[in-house]
């Protein structure tokens, strides 16, 4: 068993109360590991805390509890300058390639910035490395003198990926990296991320709401709801044998590309089940355990496949 590259333990982010509204637990005691060279897909509906989890792991969001260890070092206990130094190992691919590139910087300068910040190559080698990065993401190295607005969305996302890979990171958080792109470009970017993983032995945290894409890229899948992970397991297990009612719901929400069957499915669909937290409730959980003694909410349903007993609608049993 190899040591995990990234270890997230009880990560919590609570946004303070504002104008009479109660504090929001955007991320609530999230724990998972990512092994070197593997991809964990993080899925869930809008507002389930996916992006906040990604940002909190990268220390771009102040956390309220828990720990994040990368390469065995706890990022949450580091000074901000040490975190900056660690950023050469962890990078970020943002969702919208139209806004994540500085509009008034040339591509050459955008790609050179991480190299300069981390002094990863000597100054005279920077143009060479920039050209190398452009080739790596299948772009023409001659176009580095252009500005971001001269490129298409897919090309821009390639530039964003090239920037993330400039300093040879071990771990990349991809926050909905393809959802701002058209479908054909999506598959190109997904293929590119795949190839780069093989070539560079990268680990990804792949955040998406598109289940099909997550299945295509992820080795393991974490399903998030209400700031918590409710199901975690190998991608095949989770997709073939969804155990948490929310996961089932999510998978059933995928439309069937056949109007007749889709219409029949919509007509037959039951009322939206209510998912609510179990905090403060007593008595046995859906698995028949009493967690009053502080035992884990996690229940193994298969090897490496676990399900939380939180957020089960009333009346639903495993």
């Amino acid at each position: 068993m190899t040591a995990p590259l990234l270890r997230v333990r009880d990560l919590s982010v609570t946004f303070p109360a504002r104008r009479g509204r109660p504090p929001v637990k955007a991320v609530d005691r999230v724990s998972f590991d990512i092994l070197p060279g593997r991809t964990v897909g993080l899925v869930g509906e809008s507002g389930s805390g996916k992006t906040t989890t990604g940002r909190a792991i990268l220390q771009l969001q102040a956390i309220t509890g828990g720990s994040v260890s990368l390469l065995g070092k706890d990022l949450t206990k580091m000074s901000s300058s040490d975190v900056r130094a660690m950023r050469r190992h962890m990078q970020f691919v943002l969702q919208n390639p139209y806004s994540s590139l500085h509009p008034r910087m040339k591509v050459a300068d955008i790609l050179a910035e991480p190299l300069k910040v981390h002094r990863s190559v000597p100054a005279e080698r920077i143009p060479e490395r920039v050209a190398e990065l452009m080739t790596l993401v299948n772009m023409d190295p001659a176009s580095v003198r252009r500005y971001p607005h001269e490129f298409s969305g897919g090309q821009r996302q390639r530039i964003v990926i090239a920037r993330a890979l400039a300093v040879n990171p071990d771990f990349v958080v991809c926050d909905e990296p393809v959802s701002a792109l058209d479908v054909r470009t999506q598959s190109q970017i997904v293929d590119l991320l795949h190839d780069l993983q093989d070539k560079l032995k990268l680990s990804y945290l792949f955040i998406a709401h598109d289940l099909a894409i997550v299945r295509a890229v992820a080795h393991q899948v974490a399903v998030m709801y209400g700031g918590r992970i409710v199901e975690f397991g190998d991608a095949d297990d989770v997709y073939e044998n969804p155990s948490h009612p929310y996961t089932r719901n999510l998978l059933e929400a995928v439309p069937i590309p056949d109007p007749a069957r889709q219409r029949a499915k919509l007509a037959a669909s039951v009322v939206d089940p209510q998912f609510r937290g179990r905090d403060g409730e007593t008595g046995p959980c859906v698995f028949g355990h009493d967690h009053a003694d502080g035992t884990s909410e996690w229940h193994e349903v298969g090897p490496g496949h676990a399900v939380s007993c939180r957020f089960w609608p009333p009346g639903v049993t495993p």
Binding site: Q91, F92, L94, Y98, H102, R104, H118, A166
Partner: protein, 276 residues
């Protein structure tokens, strides 16, 4: 949030071109100053309060000095004070506004409240008070005007910084590992440049008025150096005898501030400030 693609604005471009031409005229007169003035600004001739003649195109003032020469050389003084003062206000405004907006929180609160104190005084009243307290020298005048306009500059810098600092490319820079200081300067400030340009131009127009008004009240640079404000003040009593002695400096003042107003409005349209 994405930066909208730059749209060329025809009307704005024309206005900016006109403004730049006017500004070039002003700066040219300012630089050449004494060397293009037909007479020394303090040289007197026996014909005082004379109308326009071949020798004195705009006539002479109450003690026989050439009005055109005094306008040219006087413009140099007024404009130098204006430019230096606004440059100082801009520098202070950039530092304070960027610090305040980018760091936010308590720092923002303290800086902005301190600037509010300055901002609360009417510009002119504050200027009179400071110049009166420190004495009417060129240095004090410049300092005063710089102080008076710093809060307006700082606000104009701070407002866009507040939103730009949350843009994606700023977060991307942070995730890459760029330091906060470099992010503020390289990734935030350049995005805020348009409103700052427009505001600087407007403040230049206002400053022309402030400088000449203070000089008019005798709080400007001390005599014998000519400047538009004191020229107006001297000419006021002879207004009916020699109207040009009043009209000359007045037109000069209006032309100078109009330059910056045209420039500001042109820039506003061209750079699309305020409509995004």
């Amino acid at each position: 949030m994405s930066e909208p693609a730059p749209r060329p604005r025809h009307r704005g471009q024309v206005m900016v071109a006109v403004g730049v031409a006017m500004l070039a005229t002003l700066i040219l007169i300012m630089i050449l100053g004494p060397s293009i003035a037909p007479y020394s600004p303090s040289a007197t001739s026996p014909n005082s309060l004379d109308g326009p003649t071949a020798a004195h195109w705009l006539g002479t003032d109450s003690i026989g000095r050439d009005l055109l020469s005094r306008l040219i050389v006087g413009g140099r003084g007024t404009l130098t004070i204006t430019f230096v003062a606004v440059a100082l206000a801009l520098t202070a405004g950039l530092i304070l506004g960027l610090t305040s907006g980018y760091i936010g929180g308590k720092v923002d609160l303290i800086i902005m409240r301190l600037l509010d104190v300055v901002f609360a005084f009417p510009v002119f009243l504050l200027a009179i008070a400071v110049v009166a307290a420190l004495g009417p020298t060129v240095k004090n005048l410049i300092l005063t005007i710089a102080i008076v306009y710093t809060p307006a500059m700082a606000r104009v810098v701070r407002a866009p910084v507040l939103s730009i600092k949350r843009w994606d490319h700023v977060e991307a820079a942070r995730s890459v590992g760029v330091g906060e200081f470099a992010i503020a300067l390289r990734h935030v400030l350049p995005m805020a440049i348009s409103p700052i340009l427009v505001q600087t131009s407007l403040i230049l127009a206002n400053t022309i008025f402030t400088v000449t008004a203070l000089s008019f009240l005798g709080l400007g640079p001390p005599p014998p150096d000519p400047n538009w404000g004191s020229m107006l003040a001297e000419a006021r009593q002879f207004m009916e005898l020699a109207p040009l002695t009043v009209i000359g400096p007045a037109v000069a003042i209006v032309f100078a501030s109009l330059t910056f107003i045209v420039l500001a409005n042109g820039l506003r349209e061209m750079l699309d400030v305020g409509s995004r």
